[in-house]
């Protein structure tokens, strides 16, 4: 799966985790642009550079006016990010975990996402919200949710959700340079996995999916942590003689319709796989669009896999059942292609 370094300029490859890639991107962005700011709970080195250490070293290097730890007050974190962004800075605000953004939804939705439009273009809000989430660590009902669907449904904010280390770096660099608000989602099952990142990895454009594995029988459309799940499923399917193409959206909104439609037109079948809930979830937009655009060209209905309709459970057995597993993808594909 080091396909994540495909078509990158040849050159030295560095082994680093998604977290290492995020840290590297922050260093590079702050180095290149004095307007870039980093702040959030415990992010400064006095506080250990983040509870996960993702921002370690930044305040020592760039000073504690540009890298600031904040009180536990997400509305004030987002408010400060909005004002600073409108004043010409590029704040990268950390909301420690995605569930905590629920106390700052007004700032994100009514303000960050709308101020440019409501001001007729006079206001710009070039901020990035970095937030970590994902099930798998038994942190249960209030620390693991994938709520990207809410923000994809909110006009005026982009949503990025990488899986591979190189994408974590390249997409964060682009998110920081972007003139509009970007929600950058770090998934707890991919963030700490080592991968290869070109030493000279630069920005990777937002809104572009990547085919991480080519195939001809079915297209698996996914992003974030579920990209691993789909890649694993594709491997199993290959052994059973079924050729699955895996498309990693990387950006959830705006999503790469072209790449997805081209792939599904080729394979004639699609399964959309998200960690987010299936019901009224982000996968529905993709499934609904595919059937609209490729009506009559599909060999089977577009299927969706996502979290069941319940909170994230604590017990490991339940958490495993809650998360879509490779076997679920395989079973769904088998049914589609009329096998198994």
């Amino acid at each position: 799966m080091s396909t994540d370094t495909m078509n990158k300029p040849a050159g030295e490859m560095l082994k680093m985790t998604g977290q290492g890639a995020v840290t590297a991107a922050l260093f590079q962005a702050m180095q290149e642009d004095p307007k870039v700011l980093v702040f959030g709970e415990d992010v400064a080195d006095r506080e250990g550079g983040g509870v996960m250490g993702t921002t370690r070293g930044l305040s020592d290097k760039f000073g504690d006016l540009r890298v600031r730890s904040t009180p536990i007050a997400e509305q004030s974190i987002m408010g400060a990010a909005i004002g600073a962004a409108m004043a010409g800075y590029k704040p990268v605000a950390e909301i420690m975990l995605m569930n905590f953004i629920t106390v700052a939804m007004d700032m994100v939705v009514n303000h960050a996402a709308k101020l440019r439009f409501m001001s007729g273009g006079q206001s710009q809000v070039p901020l990035v919200i970095r937030t970590l989430t994902g099930a798998g660590w038994q942190t249960a009902g209030q620390h693991s949710d994938h709520y990207e669907g809410w923000f994809a449904h909110t006009a005026g904010i982009k949503v990025v959700a990488p899986c591979f280390a190189a994408d974590y770096k390249g997409l964060l660099l682009s998110a920081i340079q972007d003139p509009d608000p970007v929600l950058f989602i770090e998934n707890s099952r991919t963030m700490f996995v080592p991968g290869e990142v070109p030493a000279d990895q630069g920005p990777i454009p937002l809104g572009k999916a990547r085919v991480v594995q080519e195939g001809t029988d079915v297209t698996l459309v996914t992003y974030s942590g579920m990209t691993y799940t789909c890649a694993a499923a594709a491997g199993e399917l290959a052994n059973a003689g079924i050729s699955a193409e895996v498309v990693d959206l990387r950006t959830v909104s705006p999503w790469d319709k072209q790449t997805v439609l081209a792939s599904v037109e080729k394979t004639g079948r699609a399964v959309v796989v998200t960690e987010a809930g299936r019901y009224f979830g982000p996968g529905a937009e993709i499934a609904a669009t595919i059937q609209e655009e490729l009506f009559g060209k599909l060999k089977a209905p577009v299927r969706r896999l996502g979290a069941p309709y319940c909170a994230v459970p604590f017990a490991k057995v339940l958490e495993d059942a809650y998360l879509v597993q490779p076997a679920d993808v395989v079973a769904t594909v088998n049914a589609l292609v009329g096998k198994g």
Binding site: R68, G79, A80, A81, M86, V103
Partner: protein, 332 residues
């Protein structure tokens, strides 16, 4: 808590006139706005600030265009006081493309960066956390710029107030939190929603100076605003100013006022700060009747010009729905 610093600053004659000019511009503009609405020429929710003119007029007399304000739905007086031109303002509330927001924001989201009108929010409390961001930027820039966060008494009970004042104090931000305490939050009387007798006391919980000021008295307002702004410019951090006032026209245009007594309303209008300050200026010889009459004519002409301008403007094209969502226009 109403005492300002011993060596309280006082506005000189010229400043007094400047404050009055801003007050009158607010009042004449408000009067014209309500007339246009009554005549059905404007269809928009309107939250008159009639009676609250002294607060932004006095504060604005101490600010430059570089200083910024974040205000609320009841904030047109704050903008007019800050110096926002009336043509783009009227074009906006009339939903025209020449409006300051191209007709997309309307009266609740008026914005005019050139004069420091950065954010107008319709969400109670939200002006405060955003004001901190501008103040933080000023620190980073090393400028002496200050940011004013305007809000109401009811807004002092919402979470954003608390988070914003705490952060501003911990970070020593150059921001002034200006609470227009008009005694009501929509239909709810102050004491039925607010647990403390003086909102200024809440400053104690943030290690921040807080004062309760007579929001109808330009001299008391000036002394406290001057001290707070100096403090902010000197890098000593934020101040909370609770400015006691009254809104004469109820919460929103058309409000029946059933939740207040005729007596208290009459009593408040009795103390209307505009005629009172006008009389004082003449008494004290700061201005003559003629000067002020002339000033009024000039202002009324400016308002009339803005109204006529706005009526001559085009409505926005529906393409505007695809513009300003992002920097890059969305494809049709």
């Amino acid at each position: 808590m109403s005492q300002a610093t011993s060596n309280a600053a006082s506005p000189d004659a010229e400043t007094q006139l400047d404050i009055f000019r801003r007050m009158l511009r607010i009042e004449r503009n408000d009067d014209a706005t309500r007339r246009q609405i009554r005549q059905g020429r404007i269809t928009a929710p309107y939250y008159s600030a009639r009676g609250q003119e002294v607060i932004p007029a006095t504060i604005s007399s101490l600010l430059t265009d570089d200083d910024k304000i974040c205000t609320i739905y009841r904030g047109i007086h704050d903008m007019v006081a800050k110096g926002m031109p009336l043509r783009p303002l009227w074009a906006e509330i009339s939903g025209r493309v020449d409006g300051t927001c191209k007709g997309k924001g309307g009266p609740m989201h008026l914005t005019h960066p050139e004069t420091g009108v950065m954010v107008t929010t319709g969400i109670v409390g939200s002006s405060m956390p955003i004001a901190n961001g501008f103040a933080w930027a000023a620190l980073l820039d090393g400028s002496k710029q200050v940011t004013i966060a305007y809000f109401g008494d009811g807004a002092s009970n919402i979470g954003a107030f608390h988070e914003a004042l705490n952060l501003a104090s911990v970070w020593k931000l150059p921001v002034i939190f200006v609470c227009a305490n008009n005694g009501f939050a929509e239909h709810t009387r102050y004491e039925n929603g607010t647990s403390v007798d003086f909102i200024s006391k809440r400053a104690i919980g943030y290690g921040m100076p807080g004062y309760t000021v007579d929001g109808n008295d330009p001299f008391d307002m000036y002394a406290h605003a001057h001290a707070a702004i100096e403090r902010a410019r000197a890098g000593e951090g934020p101040t909370l100013l609770e400015c006691k006032t009254f809104r004469f026209m109820g919460h929103v245009f058309g409000d029946a006022d059933g939740y207040m007594t005729k007596e208290e309303k009459a009593a408040a209008i009795e103390k209307d700060p505009l005629p009172a300050f006008r009389a004082k200026l003449i008494e004290s010889g700061v201005a003559t009747e003629e000067q002020l009459a002339e000033l009024q004519q000039k202002i009324e002409a400016e308002v009339q010009d803005a109204i006529e301008f706005s009526q001559s403007c085009e409505y926005p094209s529906t393409d505007e729905l695809r513009r300003d969502v992002f920097a890059e226009e969305i494809a049709a």
